[in-house]
């Protein structure tokens, strides 16, 4: 079955430390890949997206993600976390065909400790 998995429900990182959030997908063909962030009471904001080409994608707010076809993964990274990064992060995929829609993982809640 097609699915998106975010194995970590919660992650706590110290401010200034590096961050990696995991995302794995199970689809017949590589889908389009996205990372969204949701702050409390807010909608979803797109951090970055991957369609093709360079497998290391740069996004907003200092985030990047690396697509690894062999591992069916699209992990999100940030070298130094700020307290304002505390939020919920969602990996999402879209199959590569006309009227496909976003399918989201269950999300990873990021907590930032002082």
């Amino acid at each position: 079955a097609q699915s998106v998995t975010q194995p970590d429900i919660h992650i706590t990182v110290s401010e200034g430390a590096s961050l990696e959030l995991r995302c794995n997908y199970s689809y017949g063909a590589t889908p389009y890949l996205f990372w969204y962030v949701q702050s409390p009471g807010q909608g979803l904001q797109l951090l970055l997206k991957y369609f093709s080409g360079d497998t290391l994608v740069q996004g907003i707010k200092g985030f990047e993600a690396e697509f690894k076809r062999s591992q069916s993964s699209f992990n999100l990274r940030k070298p130094s976390v700020h307290w304002s990064d505390a939020a919920e992060y969602f990996c999402a995929v879209v199959p590569r065909r006309g009227y496909s829609t976003l399918t989201f993982g269950k999300g990873t809640m990021l907590l930032v400790s002082p």
Binding site: K49, R97, L102, G107
Partner: protein, 117 residues
Amino acid sequence: EAGVAQSPRYKIIEKRQSVAFWCNPISGHATLYWYQQILGQGPKLLIQFQNNGVVDDSQLPKDRFSAERLKGVDSTLKIQPAKLEDSAVYLCASSSIPMGQMNTEAFFGQGTRLTVV
């Protein structure tokens, strides 16, 4: 550029009552989506419109949920009658072209938080 507008932001109703949510997408966006986000889960697609036509409503509980986009611009999602398990955030999103095409992006509104008591 104005974003996706949704109203109301919050709604509390009793079970078996009805409720409606409104969404105005980004100007010119032909594709509109309604998602349901239950606490602790990722958003789940309820319905997708392309202009004023329904493209995908396979996950819409049609016995109680309905949605329309009559003029191909703004949209209304209705629940009648509501159940306790309908408590969730209802997110509206829009994109200029369908998401299955390359180099597209969906923009989300702030959502409506529904509590059914």
